[in-house]
């Protein structure tokens, strides 16, 4: 005997049935946590983030901008608790490195969000609308791709002065192109997929299709790309800081610390080594997490 369900019951049954299975994301999570490098990286990065937040709050005995004139370029020592030494101006390197790490991470996250917003919107519109609009929008992206962007960012920094908001916007505005391509390609491919058609044929509402089928499928590549983009953005900021165009003294970032450390490396090598190692560890962790996520969400590459 067939039971005839009213549409509301049907929807409930359907969603219950879907919940029982292991979702794409459950699978991905299990795969991710099996990846030792990614898990270790997450732990280390977590510790770094906590340290950076503590550094921003200024809980350490030394402030990042306090100048001790009598303690210039001291190597790491227990004396006065300069655990990582002091820089050429007599400021505590540990405090400065933590503040710099915080600024770098913040730039990484905010600029990534900026580029995520632009890229997803642009790509989704191009993919959904299709046709001539799509052609025009993607042609525009192609042209931007071939520009020597770094020069524009440098000019931008010079023109509008070195403020931190501008760094977010400038870097984000440069890095959205690949995101737009990924989202557009994904949307375009999904629009023609059989399971979307099947869902339509089964009478699933448009909103349900977008929520259950389109968003989860676009989300995978986007999440992977975002994690891999954070290190790229951090690099872009440190690149600008290294050239003397990033954040301004006494505020600092890892790139700026490396830049000054490189100038003093012959007399005070720790001023180079400490921020350089911090940056390396951070980038390693982010890259391992990104790679782990990619393998977890999109396992066909292995």
């Amino acid at each position: 005997m067939t039971t005839i369900l009213n549409p509301k019951e049907k929807e409930e049954m359907l969603s219950k049935a879907a919940v029982q299975g292991r979702s794409l994301w459950d699978d991905a999570r299990i795969r991710l946590f099996r990846n030792k490098a990614a898990v270790t990286s997450m732990v280390i990065l977590g510790i770094l983030v906590v340290l950076a937040i503590l550094g921003q709050l200024g809980v350490w005995v030394h402030d990042y901008d306090t100048i001790y004139r009598d303690r210039v370029s001291q190597p790491p020592t227990w004396e006065n608790l300069h655990l990582l030494g002091t820089d050429a101006q007599g400021r505590d390197l540990l405090a400065r490195t933590l503040v710099g790490l915080g600024v770098s991470l913040m730039v990484g996250i905010v600029a990534t969000v900026v580029s995520l917003l632009i890229g997803v919107t642009w790509g989704a519109i191009a993919g959904f609308v299709g046709g001539r609009t799509d052609q025009l929008m993607m042609r525009f992206v192609d042209i931007l791709y071939s520009l020597p962007f770094i020069f524009f960012v440098i000019i931008l920094m010079v023109v509008f002065g070195r403020n931190i908001i501008l760094i977010f916007v400038a870097i984000g505005a440069v890095e959205w192109l690949t995101m737009a391509r990924i989202v557009r390609g994904q949307t375009l491919a999904l629009k023609g997929m059989e399971f979307v058609e099947a869902a339509e044929a089964a009478g699933v509402s448009q909103w349900m299709i977008i929520r259950r089928h389109i968003i989860p499928n676009v989300l995978g590549p986007v999440v992977v790309y975002v994690t891999l983009m954070i290190p790229v953005v951090i690099l872009a900021e440190s690149f600008l800081s290294f050239l003397g165009l990033g954040v301004q003294e006494p505020l600092t970032s890892l790139g700026r610390l490396i830049s000054t450390g490189a100038q003093d490396m012959e007399v005070a090598p720790w001023t180079l080594i400490v921020p350089a190692v911090t940056m390396m560890v951070t980038l390693f962790c982010l890259n391992f997490i990104g790679d782990g996520l990619r393998d977890a969400i999109d396992p066909k590459d292995r």
Binding site: I150, F151, L243
Partner: protein
């Protein structure tokens, strides 16, 4: 093919115009000018100077004048190096930048392809693991970290390589080693990763199995069949790679005190040396456009399925 090249070159012209216009007007929006010194100069002299360089004209007129000069190959005089033309400055800096950049690209392509192919052919062995760890290091350590560290360890502590300058007569070619390695390292890493991924895909494909089945030697299968298909994704990476090398050279030239073109750029922008900034932007933009075109052409030669003559 010819039509394709022509079409691309025609598209390049508006691109260059847009790039120059954006750079030009952005520079002009910037507060300050090339003659703002710490000690203010008398207003009369300032006006004379501005008039001398045509900077008293409306901005759009300045742009048209600049472009008119550019079409005839005239980059204009530098506003800061008072005895030199921008063309002269670029003529001094560009060969240095090109040499370092080209060497780095060469090293990156050769080593990266080789390492990636080895890793793919020995997939999941210790060799593969070693190459991939090296690639991870290369991706995670940018030139601005690697450069100073190499200079500190190999230059200052061990004294193997000179740490800066371009003194060929004193040190010979060894001055190039550290800058080229630093610049090439991230690209070696990226190319090795790309190569490994595409090689793994290729050697699993049917036509490679066919080639093996008909009794070709392993080396013939790899060299003649697999490599050719596997390098295709690399070719499309060449355009972005050259852009990355160019921006990397800004850092390298500062770290190793090389008298290249990138070294001028930041200072020129800070000092509002409009013509020098424009000159560097125009040269690099042209370079990137040309390199992208070359990459596309190589791609079509290697991949017969791609035809640009439709």
């Amino acid at each position: 093919m010819f039509a394709f090249v022509l079409r691309r070159l025609l598209v390049a012209i508006p691109t260059i115009i847009v790039i120059t216009a954006v750079a030009f007007f952005m520079m002009k929006v910037a507060p300050g000018g090339p003659f703002d010194l710490e000690r203010p100069m008398p207003e009369e002299i300032r006006e004379r100077l501005l008039a001398e360089y045509g900077l008293d004209q409306p901005v759009w007129k300045q742009y048209i004048d600049y472009m008119a000069g550019l079409v005839q190959g005239d980059f204009g005089p530098s506003l800061k190096f008072l005895d030199k033309d921008v063309a002269e400055l670029i003529g001094e800096g560009l060969p240095v930048s090109l040499m370092i950049g080209a060497l780095a690209m060469l090293v990156a392509v050769v080593l990266g392809t080789f390492l990636g192919a080895i890793a793919a052919l020995r997939q999941n062995t210790s060799g593969d693991f070693a190459v991939m760890s090296f690639a991870m290091i290369g991706v995670s350590i940018p030139p601005l970290v690697m450069g100073p560290i190499l200079a500190l360890v190999l230059g200052v502590y061990m004294g193997i390589f000179p740490t800066g300058g371009l003194n060929f007569s004193r040190y010979g070619l060894s001055v190039l080693v550290l800058p080229v390695i630093t610049l090439a390292l991230p690209q070696i890493a990226i190319i090795a990763r790309l190569m490994r991924a595409s090689m793994i895909e290729v050697i699993r494909s049917n036509y490679i199995r066919t080639a093996r089945a008909k009794g070709l030697s392993a080396s013939a299968v790899i060299v003649r069949h697999a490599l050719r298909a596997a390098v295709l994704p690399l070719v499309s990476y060449l355009g972005p790679a050259s852009a990355a090398v160019i921006s990397g050279s800004l850092v390298i030239e500062r770290v190793f005190q090389l008298p290249g073109m990138g070294a001028y750029f930041v200072d020129a922008a800070l000092q509002r040396d409009y013509t020098l900034v424009m000159g560097v932007v125009v040269v690099y933009a042209t370079l990137i456009i040309v390199l992208n075109l070359i990459a596309d052409l190589i791609y079509s030669v290697l991949n017969p399925r791609v035809s640009y003559d439709s």
